[in-house]
């Protein structure tokens, strides 16, 4: 759920004032919820009207039940309840809490699996009689409603999960089992939940205005309230519970393997999103939206929670009436990537960059896949949902695997580089993160293996969901972004010794068939060469934009601290007192830099990722490798390693000990050092050595090679949602009604600038850029377009190099 604040408070206040005077019939509804008979609704919802352990919950949200898009909060909400149809079993406990028994046989049960509280640190609602019927106008009902719908969705998911895990994973070795991400330890290791003893709590009366969240750290769902109306709670809308719980189940699915084969060896959890905008976040929101369809099969969600006052409810399929006429379920009219990244169906004239709008592409794709599986496999909708969520689970479990094996018969390095959790986490976070391309490929791979012809002895779909159908559906959404299904994974290790191979050709990831995509099926998806990306060539165009306003960077630092745990160096002033807002990079500052990228192709590129992470671009003596695509430095005299230096041609090899025998990964920024009459480019430790009076204790961190300029982890990856053809990134950003474009922090990478840098010192930061619909960022022509091996992402090979040069000034 996304509450878009821009102008909404103003709009809402105006609406409330004017709307009270204007008859509701004058305000057109953007959606047409079916009117449901509310006969049987009473004016009260009393405990005496229900048996013990039962209660009543809304069948849907108040807009859908009443058929009124402007259903007033002054109404008696009890009339929305049907005395018999809305009567459900809730819990046998005296508080809103339930166990989970995923297999339904009393084994591997989590006793206090999920519960409800009013808010954090508040006591639970206690009902000794266990009669969970409360006045639907009150706050207690909201807790019951939220709890009841959480139960509804979890019951369905556990039921489906038990079926597909049994169907996919427990077959004999000769069958699909070997390709499955899920193992026999799935239930016994409690990989199906957050932990054997963790309770997923929902705070249904959360004291948060116009907001909701899922907190994996507190294993909690918060459903907030309205700014103005004390009777309006987001928990009154079941579809918002489905969405937030969808985030929770995404977390569970993504970490399934970390709890199975990773138990006792993986201390971290994977996640999709890391910045306020990135494609992992787009995926997360889209999947969460889809979970509403997963439960109720409807084409729209959050009509009450987001739509009633904020006009921000969202459709889930192209046939929904809220869409513009240009959108339909025809193959060439789907909500395609990247065209609809900024699309707000409520305000089509005001495109906006936000993960929730981009997420609509993913939610619509998943709904279409569900419907397609239903049709192609000749099964009913519940079965199609079960199969789709099983495919999704398999894909996410593989992508989030920090053991790196990917699936039961996988070898180390299949995904996320190596069986070292720190390296695997870094690859997931930065070097080869889960973007829309990676997700689309994984979903295709799993669909092929589970419902398609990928395994002839296993039939979840009969006749099999054809490979051509997979590719055409993916392409209709602009998601046929891959040239192979990468069945052989991305491991750079030797298939027999599991040690480093002699040549990449011998690596596991280049063995066997990757399974090629039929290029004839790529009609709508456009792949662009990385050479199209460059710095804006317009006369006078700056190479980048700098952000150094003190108040703004304080806010950025605070946001990075709270969202990513980024803690700035103690060499910088705690209040960023050196930030002077003069647009220059000065000693002691914390600055953001957004490359002024230009797309020289005729097609939009999307999911543009700018990496300021450490990478392999120097040899062991600190000489810079000039063969990384940027021809920098231009000579050995200027600091380049010898042309044939093997340390610049060998790919890095990562071992489980965390070592990289070929070479280190070095910080991106190097410095110009004056030596007599010559200058050369060197790593920052050489500058430190040349400066009297400074020691490594005066560096920004522990690494002398990032002593003076450092991009802290968590702030070292920037994302630009898209860049239109023949435009730069700034002119691609949507404009508001005043024609202004807003720049947010996620487009920049951030640097700490040491206070000890002498003004006049010049740096070059060798930044690497790639994007999701890139032709040659992922496909290695030397291996028939098989995906690059994961260790290749430590080099410049898969990226477009963009060097940023600047001089630190006072």
């Amino acid at each position: 759920m996304k509450v878009v604040v821009r102008n909404l408070l103003k709009a809402k206040s105006a609406f409330l004032a004017v709307g009270m005077l204007i008859l509701c019939a004058c305000v057109p509804s953007t959606q047409s919820p079916k009117k449901r008979s509310v006969s049987g609704g009473s004016t009260t919802n009393s405990p005496s009207s229900v048996p013990a352990t039962f209660g009543r919950i809304f069948s849907d949200n108040p807009v859908v039940i009443s058929g009124n898009a402007e259903y007033p909060t002054e109404s008696n909400f009890n009339t929305l309840l049907n005395a018999t149809k809305d009567l459900v079993y809730l819990t046998d406990a005296q508080t809103l809490t339930n166990p989970c028994d995923p297999q339904g046989v009393g084994i591997y049960v989590v006793t206090t699996c999920y519960n409800a509280l009013p808010d954090r640190l508040q006591p639970p609602l206690v009902n000794n009689a266990k009669k969970w019927a409360y006045d639907a106008n009150g706050a207690e009902f909201v807790q019951v409603n939220a709890f009841g719908h959480k139960k509804k969705m979890l019951d369905q998911w556990f039921s489906h999960q038990a079926s597909y895990v049994g169907a996919f994973s427990l077959l004999p070795e000769s069958s699909l089992k070997k390709d499955s991400a899920l193992t026999e330890q799935y239930f016994s290791n409690y990989a199906w939940w957050f932990s054997p003893s963790t309770s997923l709590v929902s705070w249904a009366n959360c004291d948060l205005v116009d907001n909701a969240f899922f907190s994996p750290a507190e294993t909690a769902i918060c459903l907030g309230r309205d700014l103005i109306d004390p009777k309006f709670w987001l928990g009154q809308d079941p579809t918002l519970m489905y969405h937030e719980l969808g985030h929770g189940l995404t977390q569970v699915m993504l970490n399934s393997r970390n709890k199975m084969e990773g138990v006792g060896v993986i201390p971290y959890n994977s996640s999709l999103a890391f910045r306020s905008y990135d494609e992992g976040g787009v995926l997360g929101e889209g999947i969460a939206d889809w979970f509403s369809f997963y439960v109720n099969g409807r084409s729209h969600f959050a009509e009450w929670g987001l739509g009633r006052f904020l006009n921000q409810s969202r459709p889930l399929r192209e046939s929904d009436s809220s869409h513009t006429a240009a959108v339909s379920e025809a193959d060439d009219a789907r909500l395609a990537y990247p065209d609809y990244l900024f699309y707000d169906p409520n305000f089509t004239e005001n495109p906006f960059e936000d993960i929730h709008y981009g997420g609509q592409i993913i939610s619509h794709f998943l709904v279409a896949l569900t419907e397609d599986i239903k049709q192609e496999c000749s099964i009913d909708l519940p079965s199609a949902k079960q199969l789709t969520v099983g495919i999704l689970h398999e894909a996410l479990a593989e992508l989030g695997d920090l053991t790196s094996k990917g699936h039961k018969s996988g070898k180390k390095g299949f995904v996320n580089l190596v069986d070292n959790y720190d390296w695997a986490y870094e690859w997931l976070r930065s070097y080869n993160s889960i973007n829309i391309r990676k997700f689309a490929q994984a979903m295709a791979r799993k669909t092929y293996q589970i419902a398609g012809p990928g395994n002839i002895t296993f039939t979840q779909c009969s006749p099999a969901y054809s490979k051509d159908r997979i590719e055409r559906l993916w392409d209709s959404y602009g998601l046929l972004l891959f040239k192979t299904y990468n069945l052989n994974g991305s491991s750079h290790f030797d298939p027999f010794t599991l040690d480093a191979p002699a040549t990449p050709a011998q690596a596991i990831g280049h063995q066997g068939s990757a399974l090629s995509v039929s290029s004839a099926n790529r009609l709508r998806t456009v792949l662009v060469d990385k050479s199209a990306v460059k710095l804006d060539p317009a006369p006078g165009a700056p190479p980048a934009f700098v952000f150094d306003d003190r108040a703004q960077l304080q806010a950025v630092a605070n946001s990075l601290r709270q969202s990513n745990g980024v803690i700035l160096s103690e060499q910088l002033d705690a209040e960023l007192g050196f930030n002077n807002g003069n647009g220059k990079i000065s000693p002691g500052e914390f600055v953001g830099v957004a490359l002024n990228l230009y797309n020289d192709s005729n097609s939009t590129i999307a999911g543009v990722q700018i990496l300021a992470s450490d990478w392999q671009h120097a040899n062991s003596t600190g000489k810079l490798c000039a063969n990384q695509g940027d021809n920098f430095p231009s000579s050995e005299a200027e600091g380049a390693a010898p042309a044939a230096d093997p340390e610049c041609t060998l790919s890095p090899i990562f071992n489980a000990a965390g070592g990289n025998p070929n070479s280190n990964l070095d910080p991106v920024c190097v410095v110009q050092l004056n030596e007599g009459s010559a200058t050369k480019w060197v790593q920052q430790d050489e500058l430190l050595a040349s400066m009297d009076g400074l020691t490594s204790n005066d560096c920004l961190g522990d690494d002398p090679k990032s002593c003076f300029i450092r991009s802290p982890k968590g702030a070292d990856v920037g994302w630009m949602s898209s860049i239109d053809g023949k435009k730069n990134w700034f002119n691609t950003l949507p404009q508001d009604e005043n024609g202004n474009r807003e720049i947010k922090g996620h487009q920049a990478v951030f640097f700490e600038v040491s206070p000890w840098i002498a003004p006049g010192t010049t740096f070059i930061c060798r930044l690497r850029v790639r994007f999701s619909n890139c032709n040659d960022c992922y496909h290695d022509v030397n291996y028939s377009d098989d995906d690059y091996l994961d260790n290749d992402f430590a080099t410049g090979k898969p990226f477009k190099m963009v060097n940023l040069q600047f001089t630190v000034v006072d």
Binding site: V3, V5, L121, L208, V209, D210, N211, A212, F213, S215, P216, A217, E218, H247, Q251, G264, V265, P267, N269, S270, S271, A273, S276, Y425, P542, P543, A544, F545, V546, F547, D548, D549, Q552, V556, N558, S559, R561, Q562, S563, N564, G565, I567, L568, Q571, L576, G583, K584, I585, A657, G658, M691, D692, G693, E742, I743, K744, W756, A758, F806, T807
Partner: protein
């Protein structure tokens, strides 16, 4: 005498030149000293009033619990011993709280909940760490994550399990064109 009078200015010039070139690379020691002093003073400052005691008091580590191993210790144990890269410190939590609060707005409450003590096996070495949950509370804003913390220095090694907020505050930035060199 005459020679001496001629030599002295040259000597002074030479000293001035040497001083000038030295100052290009060297940091004035007085400034260095002052800067180091300010860092030390900042480290010794008492905690600002804006970072109060958490509601659930967790400032003092509880009775030392058995540390969990992450990884296969048999792989790296030599002579029945592990080689550790750090030694647990009693005030790791205080150091962590200080670093998280540094630069944090005065209206933000920070809570730290220790979850478990670990020994992370990294190749041939072992490191003592603490796993915590960090919660930031301010008006109409709540964020949290898990963190792995060095048991000696209190430094954050890695964070994960970050909150997924639906309505995140956005920060608009004012761009300045970078002057090309």
């Amino acid at each position: 005498m005459k020679k001496l009078l001629i030599a002295i200015p040259f000597l002074l010039i030479a000293i001035a030149v040497i001083y000038h070139f030295d100052s290009k690379q060297a940091i004035p020691t007085q400034a260095l000293s002052e800067r180091r002093q300010s860092i030390e003073q900042e480290n010794q400052k008492r905690m600002p009033a804006s970072v109060p005691e958490p509601e659930q008091l967790q400032l003092k580590p509880s009775t030392p619990k058995k540390r969990e191993f992450i990884g296969d210790k048999k792989l790296i144990m030599k002579n029945g011993k592990l080689k550790f890269t750090n030694k647990p410190s009693k005030n790791w939590l205080t150091k962590l709280e200080k670093s998280l609060g540094r630069g944090s707005p005065s209206d933000t409450k920070i809570e730290i909940k220790p979850e478990r003590s670990l020994i992370l096996l990294e190749g041939s070495l072992a490191k003592n760490t603490e796993q915590v949950v960090v919660v930031f509370n301010s008006e109409n804003n709540r964020n949290s994550f898990r963190a792995m913390v060095d048991s000696q220095t209190g430094k954050v090694i890695r964070t994960w399990d970050h909150t997924i907020n639906e309505n995140k505050k956005t920060i608009n930035l004012t761009p300045y064109p970078l002057q090309s060199n």
